[in-house]
Homo-oligomer: 338 residues x 3
């Protein structure tokens, strides 16, 4: 794992990640998957280091996944949750972050309902010159990099279990279906999948997928060595064109709060038009697999039987990949400090 | 500890536990009590293993006790609490359990307000063939096995401190007083105490102890070797017949919510009829001891001075036994996986 | 660290601490600062011991600081928070403490909104003869010893970075500004600073600083060897006399709840009269430094730019000192048990 190219202090957005970086993460995560297959699933990599999980927005699965990743690297963890905090006493977010910094935090994992909060904290850490890395664990409707990276690991493991590589994604068709507009998961996946050469097809009602959404992805990715990678993204206001010959279908969680905003008529109508069903999967490639970032509204985004079909659903593998990928990210960032 | 008979993946109910199993748990717990008496109260038994404490119902003492037991076995722990969870986003309980499974959980400790939830999760784990053990930490009004087992350890330690054995329970009279109908503690204790040959006398007002309650215990326990053990359970709608010559009195917590259900006239009247007082203990055996699963309503189930009398109260010893017994259970179940 | 004088089981109040004890804490904390400067910031001192953090009042920074201190001493930690606890079921505080005792807790760190709760629990532990130490992490408006002790470390480190000593505090002028009446931080600092020979000048509106406040500090401190130390405390109802030639200015957090009690006209008027600004600092000694226990109301107690000026503000150093001081306290108390 020692010669992989890596020089980021922070992981905030995947917008400028290049294929070599995705490869570094993939290979590091694969080696940690080996650790996790052992009886003693622990390595001393971050012994004596402190990982602070600052989850200003509640979370079970992502927080537990990061906590477990940190513990398996032998780090000590500090957990911040907003309920019992100084935030209710009017403290600013930056002051909270600086408090955890002063206590001796080495890596900060940050989730916040406001887009841009992890970036702001990362900037402040750089300004202070303290060498502390910030990892965005989901910020508003902006990005959720570790989710997209665990999806990447899941896809590569599925495509080529013997020797997974980001090369296997080239030319694959991935359909992302659902509330694209409000989804940080969709945004991060768009960056990673297109950078690795996959075609991404978005499907949603127009209220959840405005034409302007595409603009962000119209400029190609240019690597330091001058390589130009066009980002292949397509927008569909109907489901079937996105599913046509798709190798993977990623259903997004539908926030029920969207209903009250008049962006959707009803859950039932959404399911009729965009729900993933066994019947509709017939339009996909023969070996199609389904992904979902969870938690799932069974019967809305996807039917319950598909979720539980081990031949079709990669959902459990996504969760398992999450621990390995987060170990990889903490390892790579932790290595950047010292 | 290596040759004790044990072949359960899950601990959900004590209904079919046989004396040899209680003995295995007792002997294992006793050896861990030895560990806990040392300055460094830790063993590497579950190093690198993950114990997930999924407490869908809030709890301080049971959760802390399991957490400490897991840490003293050197396991990593994941704590789930319902407040900040995906459950509020509509995720099913099985999906939550499967998420923790996919993260790499080796043992699940589950508390839920619904009777049967741990059993359902255990069935799903078996169906998936993943070898993960489920431990019921209290489900609705069904069972609370680890509480009954810590009571067993407490009683045996009290009866024969030099060489505790479940044999010492044979023929002993144990009175259980209070809200039997709604008590998972009473149910689990009924299974364990009667299987070990103790006589259990239940005392409560008829609204909290219907005659039909006895039916579950009318069938004898038949062991794999064909031994038949009659379960000796007696119902009393008054306190004194239960206390008469009792060796142990277990007061149950009275849920104040029962009042609103018109099952009880008032706390004061309950205390007058069924409260444990120093005076009433004179009816018991000379060396009678008191147990209470906690938390206590002092002055309702039991007078405050009795709770604090170290010659009479085993309450602190119950709590201490809890850590040793839970270490034993996690150890025995953890051994089943590998 | 082995020959320092120390014989306290509990740390509840600093009222009778003598200079030799402050020196023991300072020297122990300094040696832990050395540990914290290493890559692996961990020592095996409390391996296998259990530190219970019983925070009956919510807290982020103090709880995290104690948790990290305990983990860096390799202790296991148990966290109690009132939300999901048996307190809501009517359990008394003493019963909660005794439950954690029975589980095997070695040291208890207690925060409570009621003045005197940690002292009551410490008395009970002594009565039970269990050798468990109690550390007051803030009780009502009474005391917050670990905060004053981290302030002491911060001041000594600032005055003499090469070889910090409590001797350096002698004759220094420290201004404490703000809601003195309700502040446990002010009370604990008054005891420690005056015992070490500093002059403390209190500044607040009369509603937050009654004349009678001084009476507690009118008696001198008499050490076991018969040394008499006058406590030099001065009261000011205006800001400037307190700032005049001050070496340190400690701004206290203004609880907004005080407004509704008619103790203050408005935050704006408070800031105009008692807010710390760059202009007003000109009255202080040339190398004046600012402290604040946090969380800060920027623009009320102190202007935002002063908080962030690394030449003036010791706020981050206070937080960092907190971990080292709390390691020292747990170490000294833990040593008392065995």
């Amino acid at each position: 794992m020692t010669n992989l190219p890596w020089n980021r202090h922070h992981i905030i957005s995947l917008a400028d990640f290049i294929p070599a970086e995705y490869d570094s993460i993939l290979q590091t995560a694969l080696s940690f998957q080996g650790v996790l297959a052992r009886r003693t699933k622990k390595v001393p990599t971050l012994q004596g280091q402190v990982v602070a999980n600052l989850f200003f927005e509640p979370s079970t699965r992502t927080r537990s996944s990061f906590e477990l990743a940190a513990k398996r690297l032998s780090a000590d963890t500090l957990n911040f949750s907003p309920g019992s905090s100084s935030l209710t006493k009017g403290e600013t977010i930056l002051d909270t972050a600086k408090t955890y910094l002063a206590m001796g935090t080495d890596l900060m994992v940050i989730r916040h309902s406001g887009s841009g909060v992890p970036a702001t904290i990362a900037l402040e850490m750089d300004r202070l010159g303290v060498g502390v890395g910030v990892l965005n664990a989901g910020d508003g409707q902006h990005e959720h990099p570790s989710q997209a990276l665990l999806d990447l690991l899941t896809l590569c493991n599925d495509l080529n279990p013997e020797q997974p590589s980001i090369e296997d994604l080239r030319g694959k068709k991935v359909a992302i279906v659902g509330d694209i507009l409000h989804s940080r998961v969709a945004r991060s996946n768009l960056w990673s999948l297109t950078a690795c050469g996959a075609e991404v097809h978005l499907a949603a009602p127009p209220t959840l997928l405005p034409k302007a959404f595409l603009e962000a992805f119209s400029a190609p990715l240019i690597t330091p060595t001058g390589q130009t990678i066009e980002r292949k993204v397509f927008v569909h206001w109907q489901l079937l064109p996105a599913l046509e010959n798709a190798d993977f279908v990623m259903a997004l969680r539908l926030q029920k709060e969207r209903m009250s905003g008049h962006l959707l008529p009803s859950l039932r109508e959404y399911h009729q038009q965009f729900g993933i069903t066994r019947d509709r999967l017939k339009h996909c490639a023969p070996n199609v697999k389904i992904l979902h970032p969870g938690p799932t509204n069974r019967g809305v985004e996807i039917t319950s039987d598909l979720m539980d079909d081990p031949k079709l659903s990669l959902v459990s593998k996504q969760v398992a990949s999450g621990v390995a990928v987060r170990m990889a990210l903490l390892y790579l960032m932790g290595g950047a400090k010292h």
